[in-house]
Symmetry: C2
Subunit: 369 residues, 2 copies
């Protein structure tokens, strides 16, 4: 399999403002070109858009706006992991030889239609994601004797870390009490346990090994890819306190990269809700089942930004189509030692975990210098 | 580049009925499994959905409905050539080694939101595709001294050919007079010059060379792929009587397949409107500029089904996300000598042309036994 590297990126601020989807796409891609003045747009032969927005032909529209005439151009949607699905698509285009350089731009409006899955009748009337998150929270707490104070630490930690990320939606830190006393959405979920919808964009540029070496001093390589969809409703998880698709995607990605989870120095984890972070750490093998919270507490106590350095979805906000790309960019920056105040100590190996709809599908990427 | 073959397919009838998008997807994929009872679903490791429908997570939903737990799963949208974009994506997943067997299912409802492109301000108030088709018709007629009677033959031919295709929307033949006397939409366009929106689905199964040889007696190989997006508005065509993106996509696909256009025995051409067929024949090099109608007339007079044997978009109807897949299936059937009453004489090489929005983007596939 031909190697594929990341040679450029741009994050734009995540915000509660209503913005036009075309503007979000354009601002993000434009910022990428400003960040990488040496990139010759003519070499970009594919443009993929990651979004849940209902507008059509956005990839051709973005291409026209930034002055690219690509070969391959289309939109990709898979709810909350549209972003990493698009990155994997770009990888496959390059690895197969159909493309040399692919621009992937994710964008979402604060009112994204992807925030509620109309189809999932296994949830009865409870189509909003807070209901599966609530069931996960109750189950995880019961199974592993975790308290709501414990889970609140995820939110406290990720809001804290987001303060070091100028593009994050969160501009405040919170205490455990703040989280527990925030608006009660269900018996097991408070407002501050949730990531928030927002407008946001993120762009990343992938290239073939040959091209990477020509145009970049420090490309980051995608060495592992794992994906798994178990179902569309959430009833096919092995249990309500584990993430089957995440486990399988993680195993596949690490195997492809020929690495062990213990070698991962920094990771972006899909904390759509606070309970998702320990559950994903368990599923990926960072911790034994039920021990994810212990690792999170330890990292929080020592100000170690190893997990979700940019602030996670809870700290950054969650513009669905942009999230997986923004997560990947953070790992690229960490591996390039350019993550400013949130830099983890000399990381060599990074991991991205991005999932959809109660972990019914997951993508895991392994990235290396 | 690893070879990729087509090992299964299913067309379902195109209809004016309103159907649920999930039902269209399910019926189509289910028919594929009925047509190919030997296919082990467990070997299908990716599921791609091609559609302009606004529903989200359709690939996971389809996967759950047919009992597949894929690695890769997402929806792909690029207006009218979503179908071939999805096939090219499947090709790249297999060719890169990320997947072994990919199910691609296209589906559209008769009320598809992809029928009007809101964004294209270069068209002023004229967002509906009949306006660009009208301008193309006027320009092509003026430039090459073509009459409206000439163009009407495209519709007459394709409705005639559709009568041999039980899945086609058209159940009637028409005369040149019928076309010219059908409802006047613009000065240069009559109702019967247009393909019609409809509900419809189409599924195709692609596999690696190794797997193809194991499970199929007569796989059809995708030997050439070409894609090009020139813009989102239609103002970047070289002229209003030529298709720049089609020319470039065709050249790329033929070069990849190491073939000349003269070697093509059967072709599906994206006749969204009657003028598109001669324009595409010119752009692909079947004919010199302006001579596409001569070939069409000759084929029509001799009952030669070489171009658009299934009846084209005008005869079959145009369920956007399914069209490119249905076109590809027709070429597969022709090459497998299983196209029943519309079989072309012993074809060895086939071509698919699928485009979007005034030929602002085009995909061309070359298929071989």
């Amino acid at each position: 399999m031909n190697r594929v590297g990341i040679v450029g990126y741009a994050n734009t601020p995540f915000t509660k403002e209503e913005q036009k989807i075309e503007s979000i796409l354009h601002n993000s891609a434009n910022q990428l070109f400003k960040n990488n003045l040496k990139i010759d747009k003519k070499l970009i032969d594919s443009v993929l858009v990651s979004t849940n927005n209902n507008s059509k032909y956005l990839s051709a529209i973005l291409s026209e706006m930034v002055g690219i005439q690509p070969k391959i151009a289309h939109s990709i949607e898979s709810l909350c992991n549209s972003g990493t699905n698009s990155i994997v698509s770009a990888f496959s285009y390059i690895s197969s030889g159909l493309a040399e350089m692919v621009l992937v731009t994710g964008a979402e409006r604060v009112d994204s239609p992807g925030q509620i899955l109309e189809w999932d009748n296994s949830r009865g009337e409870f189509k909003h994601p807070i209901f599966w998150a609530s069931m996960f929270s109750k189950s995880y707490k019961q199974e592993f004797n975790i308290s709501e104070e414990d889970l609140a630490i995820v939110s406290v930690k990720n809001h804290k870390q987001a303060q070091k990320n100028p593009n994050a939606l969160s501009k405040k830190t919170y205490t455990v009490d703040d989280v527990i006393n925030s608006k009660k959405l269900t018996e097991d979920l408070r407002l501050l346990d949730c990531s928030r919808p927002c407008s946001g964009g993120a762009s990343i540029l992938l290239a073939s090994e040959q091209l990477c070496k020509k145009i970049s001093d420090n490309p980051i390589w995608i060495s592992g890819i794992g994906q798994k969809t178990t179902s569309a409703g959430f009833t096919k998880n092995e249990s309500l306190f584990s993430m089957t698709s995440t486990k399988q995607a993680g195993d596949t990605a690490l195997k492809m990269a020929n690495k062990n989870i213990s070698e991962v120095d920094v990771a972006e984890i899909h904390d759509a809700f606070s309970v998702c972070e320990p559950m994903a750490l368990d599923a990926l093998g960072f911790t034994k089942p039920g021990e994810g919270m212990n690792l999170i507490k330890k990292l929080h106590d020592t100000d170690n930004f190893m997990i979700n350095p940019r602030g996670g979805l809870i700290g950054c906000g969650h513009p669905l189509g942009a999230t997986g790309i923004s997560q990947t960019i953070e790992i690229v920056k960490q591996l390039q030692q350019s993550a400013e105040d949130r830099q983890v100590n000399n990381p060599k190996l990074g991991l991205v975990h991005n999932m959809s709809a109660a972990a019914t599908s997951s993508t895991v990427l392994v990235l290396e210098k």
